[in-house]
């Protein structure tokens, strides 16, 4: 951690860490502790008086059907986004690993959606699914299906899942392709000599060998779906119709900034912080294992 050869203590190292530490204190640690403190308070409807209520906000959330629904919905949303984008990326990476000519070209053509902001991904798919103009409702109508995500909750959910998964394919593809290309060729060749065809080799050799990457991507995709997809939901559905796409992060925003329920929103923030800390610790422990692998 520290260099064997290093400089002695003086004022200088404190000055060097000062900018980072001051910003962390003012914009991270202070607000986070405020969130913890506010989560223990209840404010009256006019914001005139506050009362210290211990864990009442949390108990309220625990009992709240709305919050439980949002929790379940967020897990469903994250699982769907991770599964869709990871399996699509895995298939493409499997074939890209196979072709010799043009695999860098395919990589270039597939990684750029990473650079598209989630809210823009939402806007693009919203236009494609626009009930009166969009190309997909037009096709669906031809086969007798009616599309209107402004009215139907499950269709709205489908739309935000597609938009969120589309953007994440690039990232998953990049990591899967890198993992596959780092498998020693001799292993694949040995399997081929034993008579395993491409599909069999993929299932029994390649996929197990890249399983550390799969676990890593699962965590990354879950974090992405939990926190970074706010823009998609805010722009495309505003959590609706009838809360059908309200995820946990959207609910924190909505209850805090629109509903002005400070205590409730802060309690939700605290729950989310615990979730992120759990995910980060999991990711770190897992990455240590990955190094040994």
């Amino acid at each position: 951690m520290l260099k064997r050869v290093h400089f002695p203590a003086s004022l200088l190292p404190y000055l060097l860490v000062a900018p980072q530490v001051i910003i962390t204190l003012v914009f991270f640690i202070w607000p986070a502790s405020q969130a913890v403190y506010q989560s223990l308070l209840v404010q009256d409807a006019f914001g005139l008086s506050t009362e210290f209520v211990w864990f009442e906000n949390f108990v309220y959330l625990w009992d709240s059907q709305q919050y439980q629904d949002a929790f379940g919905r967020t897990i469903l949303f994250s699982a769907a986004v991770a599964f869709l984008s990871m399996s699509f990326a895995l298939i493409l990476a499997g074939f890209a690993d196979r072709v010799i000519r043009g695999s860098t070209l395919y990589r270039t053509l597939l990684i750029w959606p990473y650079a598209v902001a989630p809210v823009l991904a939402g806007a693009l798919w919203l236009f494609m699914f626009n009930p009166t103009l969009g190309i997909i409702p037009f096709i669906l109508e031809a086969i007798g299906r009616d599309w209107n995500h402004y009215l139907r909750g499950n269709q709205a959910m489908f739309l935000v899942i597609i938009a969120a998964a589309w953007k994440q394919v690039a990232y998953n593809f990049l990591f899967y392709l890198a993992a596959m290309q780092s498998i020693p060729r001799s292993i694949i060749e040995a399997a081929a000599i034993d008579g395993a065809g491409p599909l069999r080799r993929f299932v029994t050799v390649i996929f197990p060998l890249i399983s550390p990457t799969t676990f890593f991507l699962l965590v990354v995709n879950a974090v992405y779906a939990f926190f970074e997809t706010f823009g998609i939901i805010h722009a495309v559905t505003q959590g609706g119709p009838a809360n059908a796409t309200t995820t946990l992060v959207y609910k924190v925003y909505n209850d805090g900034f629109i509903g002005l329920d400070l205590g409730g929103s802060a309690a939700q923030s605290v729950i989310l912080m615990i979730l992120v800390i759990g995910m980060t610790v999991f990711q770190f422990r897992f990455i240590e294992k990955r190094v040994q692998y």
Binding site: F7, A35, L92, A115, V119, I135, L174, A235, V276
Partner: protein, 283 residues
Amino acid sequence: MVEKRPGFTLVAHLVLILGVALVALPVWITFVGASHDAGRMLQAPIPMWPGDQFLENLRQTFFGRGLEGSRTAPVWMMMFNSLVMAMMIAVGKIVISLLSAFAIVYFKFPFRMGFFWMIFITLMLPVEVRILPTFEVVADLRMLNSYWGLTVPLIASATATFMFRQVFLTIPDEMLESARIDGAGPMRFFWDILLPLSRTNIAALFVILFIYGWNQYLWPLLITTDANMMTIVVSIKQMLEAAESTPRWNIIMMTALLAMLPPIVVVITMQKLFVKGLTETDK
């Protein structure tokens, strides 16, 4: 290739081409939408082939006063705001992370590990989970509607500090020993040896952070109430809202194209650095 199976290779190419087409489809439709006039974009089915209004729409969108009915500034101004925000976030994060990683790796001083853990904590607190209290802090500091308010709260970075720490740890001790024998002080060593040695890592990180900064949504949405401070990415939401009363999809699609263009150009032109940055910051 392991074995020769021309048929299978052909299938592989076909699947990949299909995959690329599927991924590119929404952007193609946006591009087509940005090249027709407003009237054509209201007739279902919308066109699948580009029209001849692309340059006219570009002119109107880029220099126009923004979409009527939405609270947006001219697009060139919002792109400028986004550029300033992305540059300030990327440069700011790199500078403060370089300095703190230098202090933590090369100095022995009381509370060194305490500072390290304090920085580590920021990794665990994305802005989404502490929006309201952070907003209050920024409001109290009177930083709403300013570039400082847009960028400074996002500048602390555990990932960048970790990455530079990793880089510094791989630099041989002999470098510092010989620099010292030649009479270099800490800052001289930092400028003349550490910085040049971490040049490619700085560039790779810059690519990732520029994209991160440009694509910020929730934070600018809260901090900017003045239309002249709005960023281009946030303006899309305003335009989509206005589209319900004045559906000028050609202008909206052109704005979306302009909003995604700079980060995509960065990714494609600096692909090697981008891949390096992406794989190294996640370690």
